[in-house]
C-alpha cells in the first residue's frame, strides 16, 4: 500500500512539472474540460432532478407532525442537496463516467506503446496526459455540482407540483429560509477534492497498466472503485472538519 502511495505521489509530482510548450497543454486542458463538463451534463442533470424530487417527497412523508411547518421540507431538501446529494452522488456517478474513461484511455495508450512513444520524443508523459485531466476535474466537477444543486432544488419543486404533498409556495419558502452560505462553500470544497480524487486516482490506475485489453478493463474498474472509496472517506473528513 505504501509503495502504491509513493508511486502515486511521484506521478503527481511528474504531472505538474513545467510543460514543454504551454499552448499544446492548454489545448489538451480545453478538450478535457469539454469532455468532463459538457460530456457529463446530461447524466448529472437527470440524476439531480430525480434525487431532488425523491428527497422532497421523502422529507414531506416524514413530516407527519402538525407542529412542524410544511415549509421545513424545502429547507431540508435544499441542505441535503447542497451538502450531500449534489457533491457526493454526482461525484460517485462522475467516477463511473469520467474516471473509467480516464483510466481506460491512459491504460490503452500504455498497452499500445503510445506512452512509450511520448517518452521517446522527450515529452513528459504524466504531465501531458494527467495534468490536463486533473485541471479539468478540479474545475468542471465544482461547476457540475453547482448545476446539480440548482437542478436538485428544481426537482423538489417539480415534485411538489406533481404530488401536492407540499405546496410549491411552502417549498419555496423553505428553500429561502435560513440559508447559510457555508453550505455552498462546503459543497464546492467537496467538489474540488472529489474532482481531484477522480482524475488523479483513475489516471494513476491507467498509467501503470501493464498487459493487454483485460488489464485495461481491470484498471478502469480499480480506478472507479478506489475513487468511490476515497470520495466517501474525503466526504466524511470534509464534513467533520468544516461543519
Amino acid at each position: 500500500m505504501f509503495q502504491s502511495l509513493g508511486k502515486y505521489i511521484l506521478l503527481l509530482q511528474l504531472s505538474f512539472k513545467k510543460p514543454e510548450k504551454f499552448s499544446v497543454y492548454w489545448k489538451e486542458v480545453m478538450l478535457e474540460m469539454v469532455s468532463v463538463g459538457i460530456g457529463s451534463l446530461g447524466i448529472i442533470s437527470i440524476i439531480s432532478v430525480f434525487i431532488g424530487a425523491a428527497t422532497t417527497i421523502q422529507v414531506a412523508f416524514q413530516l407527519s407532525s402538525p407542529l412542524v411547518p410544511r415549509s421545513i421540507a424545502g429547507s431540508i431538501a435544499r441542505d441535503s442537496n447542497i451538502l450531500e446529494f449534489s457533491p457526493t452522488i454526482s461525484s460517485l456517478v462522475l467516477a463511473g463516467r469520467v474516471g473509467s474513461s480516464f483510466a481506460s484511455q491512459i491504460g490503452t495508450m500504455r498497452v499500445t506503446e503510445q506512452i512509450d512513444a511520448l517518452e521517446i520524443m522527450g515529452v513528459n508523459a504524466p504531465g501531458y496526459l494527467i495534468s490536463p485531466k486533473i485541471i479539468a476535474g478540479i474545475t468542471m466537477v465544482p461547476m457540475l455540482v453547482i448545476i446539480s444543486i440548482m437542478l436538485g432544488i428544481t426537482g423538489g419543486y417539480i415534485a411538489c407540483i406533481v404530488t401536492g404533498d407540499i405546496t410549491p409556495a411552502d417549498y419555496i419558502m423553505g428553500v429561502n429560509e435560513g440559508f447559510d452560505g457555508l453550505t455552498i462553500r462546503v459543497a464546492l470544497v467537496k467538489a474540488f477534492v472529489f474532482g481531484f480524487i477522480i482524475a488523479s486516482i483513475c489516471s494513476y490506475q491507467g498509467f501503470y497498466t501493464s498487459g493487454g485489453a483485460l488489464e485495461v478493463g481491470q484498471s478502469a474498474t480499480a480506478g472507479v472503485v478506489y475513487s468511490c472509496v476515497w470520495i466517501l472517506f474525503a466526504d466524511l473528513m470534509i464534513t467533520s472538519i468544516m461543519l
Binding site: E20, T108, T112, E113, Q114, A117, I120, N124
Partner: protein, 250 residues
Amino acid sequence: MIEVKDIYKTFGDNEVLKGISATFHTRKNNLIIGGSGSGKTTLLKCIVGLHEPTKGQVFFEEQNFTEMDFTERVPIRTQIGMLFQNSALFDSMTVEENIMFPLNLFTKQSKEEKLERANFCLERVNLKGKNKLYPAELSGGMKKRVGIARAISMQPKYLFVDEPNSGLDPKTSILIDELIDELTTEYEMTTVVVTHDMNSVMGIGDHIIFLHQGQKWWEGSSKEIAHTDNKELNDFVFASKFMQAAKSKL
C-alpha cells in the same frame, strides 16, 4: 554512433540481458536479431531509455545517456525517431496531427512550416494526401509508414525500429525495409532495427548482432551470416525450409 557497454537487465528473478556490449554505427542499418525471448526488444528499450539497465551504460556520441535524468535526456531524445512494433500512433489524432506532434512541442516553426514538413514526410513514405485520416482508418502497412513519417519529422540522428515487418505481407515488408534503408542513407542516421525476419536480415543488414538467451552470440554482416559455423545462429537463420533450400544452393 551509439555504444552499449556491459548491459544487464533483470526483471524480478529473470535476467533478460547478460552483459551485452556493442557499437551501432552511423549511416548503417544495425540489426539486432534473435529468437523470441532472446532480449532483443529489452535491449532496444534499454538503449532508448524506456527501461533502465540494471547494470551497464549507453553512450550516444560519447554522452553517457544512462547517467542522465529525464530533463538532460530531452536534447538527445529530440534527435531520436522510433517506429514501434504496433506503430503506436496516437489514436485521437489524424495522420497529419501525429506527424506534427513533435514539431508542435519542440520547434518554434509556424503552422505553415509544420504543415509543409508533415506533407513532405508523408510524401516521402508514399502517403501523400492521407493527412486527415485517423489511425483506425489505416492498414497495417500504412500505419507503419505513418510511424516512420512521424519518426523522421524532426530529422533525427538516430532511428530505432522494433519489428518493422510484424503483421505485414512479404511485399509490404520489403517496401518498409527499403524505406528504412533509404532514410538511413538520406538522413545519415544511426539506425537500429530489432527483427527476426530473415528477409530484412539479408536485405538491409549492414551490421548484425545475434542475441541468444540474453547474450551477444554473434556479430557480423549479412554477407557473413550464411557462412558462419555458429550452431545457434545457424539454427535461427536456417529454421525455415526456404532458407534451408537457399543454403543448399550456396
